[in-house]
């Protein structure tokens, strides 16, 4: 397994409260890594450390190292804008901008100046929509507002928006929690397809989802990383009792 990202001794504090304790985790390239655990266990906090979205939260302090291909992303010299272009993010609730479908996808390439002219941008938008499996549904109505789509389509639009800037890693924070089962299935299929091109980290509440889409799974509990490993092994033969209890539904 080629390592894409790596955390070493990661501590996160919200004011006085410690949200993450000493997390060491490797994220393999072109794999889907699932983060599971009960509510408030720190899995979303961990995810938000990976592209420094915690910078936005007032009073949040991060200690320890987060490396992207060996480079510390918390290095003060590193550029956070560039970093976030490399590590995209998809959120819990679909949050398309109140603009047209086209403008939603074109937003990233525009701000990063990734294309030279309109036709290149058009191509990039269509390519991103195609990769997100949405092009067929919206091809004839690219100028309609993104908010006019259904929930599942909105979430795939958000994925298209994220991949339009060609990130290396995509972070997904419970991307299916606001979707119905059919839309969820579509997004899960999509995640599996995207694995070939991107490294994906997904936070999920659903153990079935983790089992279906991920190759590796990490179990968090009370701000600690309890166990991580191949998904199959975690779900069939966990080393830790707490992992066992959680996946068998004793708590959580």
């Amino acid at each position: 397994m080629k390592t894409k990202m790596l955390t070493r001794g990661l501590d996160v504090f919200y004011g006085e409260k410690q949200a993450l304790q000493h997390v060491d985790l490797e994220i393999g390239a072109n794999q889907v890594t699932a983060l599971i655990g009960p509510s408030g266990c720190g899995k979303s906090t961990f995810l938000r450390c990976l592209n420094r979205m915690n910078d936005v939260v007032p009073g949040c302090r991060v200690e320890g190292d987060v490396l992207l291909e060996g480079e510390d992303i918390y290095d003060p010299l590193l550029d956070v804008v560039k970093l976030r272009a490399q590590i995209g993010m998809v959120f819990q609730k679909p949050n398309p901008f109140p603009k047209s479908i086209y403008e939603n996808v074109a937003y990233g390439p525009r701000i990063h100046g990734m294309t030279q002219n309109k036709s290149e941008l058009d191509d990039l938008v269509r390519q991103s929509l195609r990769k997100a499996g949405l092009l067929g549904e919206v091809e004839n109505r690219l100028e309609e507002p993104g908010t006019s789509l259904s929930g599942g389509q909105q979430q795939r639009l958000c994925i298209a928006r994220a991949i339009a800037v060609s990130p290396e890693v995509i972070l997904m924070d419970e991307p299916c929690s606001a979707l119905d089962p059919i839309a969820t299935a579509r997004v899960e299929e999509l995640i599996d397809e995207l694995r070939e091109q991107f490294t994906i980290v997904i936070v999920t509440h659903s153990m079935q989802q983790a089992a279906r889409v991920s190759q590796r799974t990490a179990f968090f509990h009370l701000g600690e990383l309890i166990e991580e490993g191949d998904t199959e092994r975690i779900f069939t033969n966990p080393a830790e009792k707490r992992t066992q209890d959680y996946i068998t539904g004793r708590f959580g």
């Binding site: 291909e69 550029d79 804008v81 560039k82 272009a85 490399q86 390439p109 701000i111 990063h112 100046g113 990734m114 294309t115 290149e120 990039l124 800037v165 060609s166 290396e168 091109q197 991107f198």
Partner: protein
């Protein structure tokens, strides 16, 4: 660092630098905007405080007055009637002239007397009425100097300016400097500014009439708008059926809160003065007009406070068999009191600063007497500021600023009271 799609690479660092520059510029603009607003406020407050400084004291002169019985007690019996008929100007003027025996020409003697304020004779009259037994003796009193001398002494008139362009002549400056050298000129506190009525003479003009007028007007405003506003808020929030009528009332109240204040002045003029024949320039009408204007503020604040009371309290009261009216008046309304009071105080503060509608109903006349009732002609603080602002005498500039400081003082006190009410009730609950 490898990009997975080489045909769409992230642009070079030059672009990134440009984006960061844009970010810094934008951020600086945002900060500058708020800085501009805050410094405009500071500029206003500083310039007004600075201009009002000279109103704190009043240049005065100490004179040894011969209390001549012929002038002060013409009937010779020391009675009130005799004192009322007395000539108070003469002894004061004589006292000043006695200090400058070399001034003999009629015109010059007049110029000398003009150093004194007209207030000097009023002061002497008050002194004599208080202690008539002094008549016949020689006493030392302190009298106010005229506004131009006051300005000169406070450095607002430059003696370098050509004599024709200033209001105080070289001779007069010479006399003032002589008096100063004799140690006769002092700067006592200008109590008159706070405790006297209005006057055409800047050095005699005071705010007491306007303060009382404002108090009377606010009293009427409060007595009308508070009970009506609270009752309306209670009805709309607790009892009104949800139908077309209450929708209309709601939109109407929101809109009324944004109607220009001068329109309320037109209403007061057309309805209260012309149709109902109420007295012009009176705090009564002013108070009614301001009450109509404040009403929406109180209703909106009252409704917000009522709707913030948790429904569980209402349900609990109904659950023990209280009628809906009892539930509202015994349980919900007391919980909403701090919110309602805060809104009312803020509404009152706004009324205190309101000017335009009061001008429309005639509270703009020059009124020197202090009002004693709600139907006496009177003026209010902001109108006084407006009137003094337009007065031609330069000394009124400082009076205008002084009146603004007093008005702002009242407003700060009211807002502090609102904050205090909120804090106090928050702590209790």
């Amino acid at each position: 660092m490898s990009s997975p799609t080489p045909d769409a690479p992230l642009a070079a660092d030059g672009r990134l630098r440009r984006r960061y520059r844009q970010e810094r510029v934008f951020r600086a603009f945002a900060l500058a905007a708020i800085g501009f607003a805050l410094s405009a406020l500071a500029g206003l407050l500083v310039s007004i405080s600075y201009q009002s400084l000279s109103v704190i004291t009043q240049s005065s002169v100490e004179l040894d007055v011969v209390l001549d019985p012929d002038a002060l007690d013409p009937l010779g019996d020391g009675s009130a009637a005799s004192l009322a008929a007395a000539n108070y100007a003469k002894p004061v003027r004589s006292a000043l002239r006695a200090l400058f025996p070399e001034v003999r020409k009629r015109r010059e003697r007049k110029a000398l007397v003009r150093l004194l304020s007209d207030g000097a004779e009023y002061d002497l009259r008050a002194l004599m009425e208080a202690s008539p037994e002094l008549i016949g003796s020689t006493q030392t009193f302190v009298f106010p100097l005229s506004d131009d001398v006051d300005l000169f002494l406070k450095g607002s008139i430059d003696s370098e300016v050509d004599e024709a362009d200033r209001k105080i002549s070289d001779r007069q400056i010479g006399w003032v400097e002589t008096l100063d050298a004799q140690g006769r000129i002092s700067q006592p506190w200008n109590w008159r500014f706070l405790f006297a009525g209005d006057s055409r003479e800047p050095e005699l003009a005071g705010l007491q009439g306007a303060i009382r007028g404002s108090m009377l007007t606010l009293l009427i405003t409060f007595l009308l708008s508070f009970p009506i506003g609270v009752c309306a808020a209670v009805y709309l929030e607790e009892f009104a059926p949800k139908n077309r009528f209450t929708d209309v009332v709601e939109v109407n109240i929101n809109n009324l809160a944004a109607v220009p204040s001068i329109i309320f002045g037109l209403l007061g003029l057309a309805v209260f003065l012309n149709i109902f024949g109420m007295p012009r320039s009176a705090p009564l009408v002013g108070g009614v007009v301001l009450a109509l204007m404040t009403l929406p503020t109180i209703i909106i604040a009252g409704r917000a406070a009522l709707s913030a009371v948790p429904p569980s309290i209402r349900e609990a009261a109904l659950g023990v068999g209280a009628s809906p009216t009892q539930a509202v008046f015994h349980h919900v309304l007391p919980q909403a009191v701090p919110g309602i009071l805060t809104g009312t105080i803020i509404g009152m503060a706004r009324s205190l600063g309101e000017t335009a509608p009061l001008l429309m109903i005639g509270m703009v006349a020059f009124i020197a007497d202090l009002p004693t009732g709600v139907d006496d002609p009177s003026t209010v603080l902001p109108v006084q500021i407006f009137l003094w602002n337009d007065a031609p005498e330069r000394a009124f500039v400082a009076r205008t600023s002084g009146a603004i400081v007093v008005l702002l003082g009242f407003l700060i006190a009211m807002n502090a009271a609102a904050v205090w009410v909120r804090r106090r009730f928050e702590m209790r609950s």
